[in-house]
Symmetry: D2
Subunit: 254 residues, 4 copies
C-alpha cells in the first residue's frame, strides 16, 4: 500500500471578469495546484491572486502552460513548431515563476494543458524542445503526467534527467489499455466510485477500467478536475477516504 | 567629462509575422537592449531570438514591459489599477527572465514602455506598486528612466533602494524645462545634431533644448530609437563620436 | 401614464469557455437585447447562439460595442482617436449585422458598452465619429442611451437625424441631478424598490434619487443588468408589475 | 484565348503599428482585393483605410477571412468545429461588409486565407458550414478559389448555387497534378516566368508545371502575392503583358 498521495488540481482558470471553478473551495482538499499561465486561461492578476491563495493553504504550485488560444481554452489542436513549443513553455513558466518569486515561493512542477498536452504526448520533436525548456528553467525540474508515463514528453524528460510524476484520474474513466476516456461535457462525478478508485489504487497500485479490467499504473499524485459540478464534494470525499485508509495526503517532495 | 556612456535601444518589437525595426543592424552599436515582453509588442519566440542575438553581441538585456494593448502598440493610456500595474510587470518581467535563464543570462534592468511609462511618470499609487514588483523580482534591481529622474516611478524606486539610471535622448528634442518633446511620426534624425548633443552631454553634463537653453541632466545612458528611418546610421555615428572624444561605450554595471 | 415600455438587457457576454449571466433565464422577461460584439465580451459563436436564442423569444436585437479590452471587460478608459472609435463601431456592428442576417433579422439599435459609453458621453469628436458610423450602417438607425440624453453621443446622433431612445435603470441608484451611480461590485437588487421605481416612472415620468428627489426623465426603455445575483427575479418582477399597472411590455418600434 | 482576366491580391494585412506589404504600390495593377478581416491580420481601422484606398483605385473588394490566430498569421492548422467555421466567416465577412457599407460599396467575393483555406479544402463538414454562411451573407455570393475548383469548399458552394471563380497563381510553381507548391520563405519572383505563365494561360488555358507538364485549369482570375520582395514589379509586368496580348484586365462581374 502507498503511504502517501499527492492531490493536484488545475487552478487559476478565470480570465479577467470571467470566473471559472471554485478555487477557494477546492484549496482545502488538495496539495498541489497547476496554475494556468495566460495562454489558454488566467491573466497576470489572476495568477498572483491564485498564488497568494495557494500559499495561504500551504499548497505547492506548478505551472500549467497551454497553447495560445484563449477563445478555445487551449483545447484545440494547433500545428506549432518545436521552437514555438519551447518558447511557449519558457514564456508561461517564467511568468508564473515571477508570480511565485514576489511571494517568496519556488515552482514545484510543470504540467501541460489540454491540446498542448495532446501534442506533447505524440510529437517527439516538440516533446524534446519542451523537455529542454523544463530542464533549463528550474534547478529541480519535475513533470506531472498521467500514468503510464511512456508518452513522448515524459520520455524526453526522463532522458534529460527530469523527474516525472505519474498521475491517476479518479473522476475520469479508464479504457482497458490504461488510457483516459476524456468527456467534454461536464457531469456530476460519481463520488463513491471516485473514492473507491482512489482506495483501490492506493491499496493495489491498480485502477479499474470501464470494462472491469484492473490496470497497473505508476503514480504518486491524483488529479481532480475543479470545474465539475460537484468538484468540491469529490475532493473532500477523496481526502477523507485517503485519511480513513491511513494514506498521508501531502505534496510530492520537490 | 564622463568617462563612460551606456547606449540603450528598444529591441524585439516584431510580432509574429510582422517585423519592426532592424535589430540585427542596431546591435553592433548599442550596449543594452530593452526587450519588449509580449503585451505591446513581441511574442515568446521573438523574445528568445532577440535574447540570443543580444547575447551574441555581448549586450546586456533589460525588460521593456508595456500595457496590454497590441493593437495600440502600448501607446494608448489605459486606466489600470495599482494591482494591475504590479501584475503586468511581474508577468512580463518573469517571461523575459525565463527567456534569459535558458540562455544562462540575468536581467539587467527594467524600463517601462510608452503609455505605461506615462502613467508611471504621474501616478503615485501605480508607481509604488511597480517599484515593489521591481524590488522583489531581482537581486540587483535597476530602473532606466529619462533624466531628470524625479517622476513618480523613479522616486518610488529610490525609496525602495532600487538603483535608477538616468537617460538622455539625442534623437529627440528637449523643452527648456528638460522634458522630452515626443513626436509621433517618424522622421529622419539629424545625425550631426544627435552626435553634437551626445558630445555636449558627455563634456558638460548638459543637453541643448529647442530654444537653445542648456539643461543640466543626470544620466549614465543614452537611448536611441530603433524605428527611425536612419536609426542604424544614427547609432553608428554616435558610437564613433563617443570613441572619438575618448568616452568608453559600455553597459551600466549591474 | 406611459402606455408601453421596452425592457432591455445586455446579452451574449460569455467568452469561449467562460460563461457570464443567465441569458436563457432573462429572455422571457425582456423585449430587446444588447448583444456584445467580441471586443469586451462575446465571440463569433456566442453571438450567433445569442441571436438564435433571442429570435426564439421574439426579442429585438441591438449591438453593444465596446473598447478592445477583453481582459478589462471594456470597463477601462482607453485613449482612442475619433478614427478608432468610428472603426470599432463599424467593425463590431457589422459583425453583429451579419450574425442577424444569417437568421433573417435586422439590427434594432446600438448601445455603447462600459468605458466606450463613458468616452462617448464626454468627448465631442469621438461622439461625432461614432454618430457618423451609426448613420451609415443602418437604414433606420437608433441609439439607446441612459436618460437624460443630453450627452455628447446622443446629441451628435440627434444632429444627424438618428433616433435616440432614453433609458431608465431601476436596478441602479440615481443622484439628484439625474445621473446614475455606478457600483462596481454586484449585489442583490432590492426587487420592491426596482418595481416601485418602474411604476413611479411609468405613472409620473419621474425616478426617485437617493436623497428622495424626484427627477423627470425622458425614457422609452428600461435597462436591467443581467449579471446581478438576482437578475432573473428582478426582471420577472418588473415585467409583472408593468403588466399589473396596465403598461404594455414591448420593444421600441424600429 | 481569354478576352478578359481579373487580377486579385491580398490586401490590408497590416496590424496596428505593424506594416505589411505595399498596398498602395500594388493597387494600380490589380482589379480585386482580398481584404483581411482581423483574425489573422488587419484591424478595424486598417480595414476601413484599405477599403478607402481600393475604392479610389476602383478595385472590387472581397473578404479574406482567416483562423483566429494573429500570432501565427492564420497559417497554423487549428482543429475547429463546423459551428466555429460558420461563425468565423459570418463575423469577419460582416465586419468587412460594414466597412464597405460606410463607403457605399458592396462585397464582391469571399476567399479564405492560409490554414483556413487548407481545412476548407479537405474537410467536408466545415466546407458545408462555410458555404451555408456565404450563401446567407450576400445576394450574389461568389467564392474565389485556386483552380481546379474540385475541393471541399468550392464543391459545397456549387451545390448551394454559389458562383465559384477559379484562380491561377503565376508567382507560385505548379506540380504536375495542378496543385500549387507553397513556399514559406519569400523570394524574388521570376518576372519573365510569371508573365509567360500568364500569357500561356490566357492563350491556351494551361499552366506549365515544374516538370514541364502543361496542366489545363479553369480560371477567371489570377492571384499575385503582395508580400514578395518584387511584388509591385511582378504585378506591373503582368498587367503590361496582359495589355500587350490584348487581354482586358478587369474584375469578375458581380
Amino acid at each position: 500500500m502507498l503511504s502517501r498521495m499527492d492531490v493536484n488540481c488545475d487552478m487559476g482558470e478565470s480570465f479577467g471578469n470571467w470566473n471559472m471553478g471554485d478555487d477557494a473551495g477546492m484549496m482545502p482538499y488538495i496539495t498541489t495546484a497547476n496554475v494556468a499561465c495566460g495562454f489558454h486561461a488566467s491573466d497576470p492578476l489572476t495568477m498572483l491572486n491564485t498564488v497568494k491563495l495557494a500559499k495561504e493553504h500551504k499548497i505547492e504550485i506548478g505551472a500549467h502552460p497551454g497553447l495560445p488560444d484563449l477563445l478555445g481554452f487551449g483545447r484545440r489542436f494547433m500545428n506549432i513548431t518545436p521552437d514555438d513549443a519551447h518558447a511557449y513553455v519558457v514564456y508561461q513558466v517564467g511568468a508564473l515563476q515571477a508570480s511565485l518569486a514576489v511571494h517568496g515561493l519556488k515552482l514545484h512542477h510543470i504540467k501541460p494543458h489540454g491540446a498542448f498536452y495532446s501534442v506533447l504526448k505524440a510529437q517527439q520533436d516538440l516533446a524534446e524542445a519542451v523537455a529542454e525548456a523544463i530542464r533549463k528553467l528550474t534547478d529541480k525540474p519535475m513533470l506531472y503526467w498521467p500514468a503510464p508515463t511512456s508518452a513522448a514528453l515524459p520520455t524526453a524528460c526522463k532522458n534529460l534527467g527530469i523527474r516525472v510524476v505519474g498521475e491517476i484520474y479518479p473522476d475520469l474513466q479508464y479504457a482497458a489499455d490504461g488510457s483516459l476516456v476524456i468527456q467534454r461535457h461536464k457531469h456530476e462525478t460519481d463520488v463513491a466510485f471516485a473514492c473507491d478508485q482512489v482506495q483501490r489504487y492506493v491499496e493495489t497500485g491498480k485502477v479499474q477500467a470501464m470494462d472491469g479490467t484492473l490496470v497497473e499504473l505508476d503514480a504518486e499524485s491524483l488529479c481532480i478536475h475543479g470545474d465539475g459540478p460537484n468538484a468540491v464534494q469529490v475532493a473532500a470525499a477523496i481526502k477523507q477516504r485517503l485519511k480513513d485508509i491511513g494514506c498521508t495526503v501531502t505534496a510530492v517532495n520537490l
